[in-house]
Amino acid sequence: MATKILIVDDSKLARMSVSKLLSELRPGWVRLEAANADEAVKQTDQEHPDIILLDFNMPGQSGLELAAQLHETHPDIPVAIVSANIQVEIVERAALAGATFIAKPLTGPALAEFLTAAEAKVAAR
């Protein structure tokens, strides 16, 4: 079955941009999108994504809060926080929430590195 990845970002452009990179890096994957934390939780419960990419700075619940919540409810899903906010506190909180931190603007090599590690984690489940 094709790997499912959920992209969570309040910016449509950011979602489109990540989706484009994914179409190049992992053309066979199913790409799901959510514009906020509530939609992301709903999609996670209904569609059971294998991997999740979260924007940090979103209206309502932030990506970090959502990552912590997902870490509780779905500890098997590899999660990355994608943010231009590279302050040490944010990177540390991402790690505490069990997520990988990736700097924005997202580049192909940085995303590919996370995807490879996430694939290995998914395969080991």
């Binding site: 484009k20 179409s23 890096l25 906010n85 040490v88 590919a112």
Partner: protein
């Protein structure tokens, strides 16, 4: 309203501009954090194009007292001014945050202008450089200038002629953890620059969204 309809941005262009600003300010906040050693908290940005009078009113409604703005001009395909604006009452606290708490008040007062200029330089340059990179542009940025006054004073005293400029008002509230410091960022641009900005945003959207037909990396 000064911006003609041809300059109106559609939903995806506003989204792109907001994302551009979000990335720029987040990077700049990370630099400021390094400088002051405390976490810088950012709100979700709101971006709106408006006249400078409206921008002055908006700030005036939120901030009752005098303001300080650090202004830097930028030049390139898009030209204008970028401003970091905060309440004057925050300025000594900001200097304390940068210089450390042990300095005597006289030294803090003596350092005030320099510290404000340096903070503005880091935030505005960081923000402008990120935006320029994402738009694949080069912008030359001037040295910072400090402007004191009310909301309308800081716009009318800007070296950029405000009468024929629109303000790209980036409302992003930043604050410093455990410190009473917050502020806003605004950009002023004239109509030719706004036209150029709209075109550059269009190109950025194209780069970010057009599916590449070759060079598929397989794994």
């Amino acid at each position: 309203m000064i911006a003609p309809e041809s300059l109106a941005l559609d939903a995806l262009e506003i989204d792109a501009l907001t994302e551009l600003v979000n990335v720029g300010v987040s990077r700049a906040a990370s630099s400021l954090r390094t400088m002051i050693g405390s976490e810088v908290l950012l709100s979700v940005p709101a971006v709106e194009m408006m006249t400078y009078e409206r921008a002055a009113t908006l700030i005036g409604e939120r901030e009752a007292g005098e303001l300080i703005a650090v202004h830097q001009s930028f030049q390139g395909d898009i030209s204008g001014g970028a401003m970091l604006i905060f309440p004057e009452t925050n300025s000594l606290e900001l200097v304390r945050a940068i210089a450390g708490g042990a300095l005597p008040l006289d030294d803090i007062i003596a350092l005030e202008k320099e510290a404000l200029a340096e903070t503005g330089n880091i935030i505005l340059n960081g923000c402008l450089a990120t935006i320029a990179n994402m738009l694949q542009q080069t912008l030359n940025v001037s040295l910072p200038e400090i402007i004191y006054g009310s909301g309308s004073d800081i716009f009318s005293r800007s070296p950029i002629s405000v009468t024929d400029s629109a303000v790209l008002f980036l409302y992003i509230n930043f604050s410093v953890r455990h410190r009473d410091i917050h502020g806003y960022i605004a950009m002023l641009m004239d109509l030719p620059s706004l036209t150029a900005l709209k075109a550059l945003i269009g190109k950025m959207i194209e780069r970010a969204t057009v599916e590449s037909t070759s060079n598929h990396a397989t794994h």
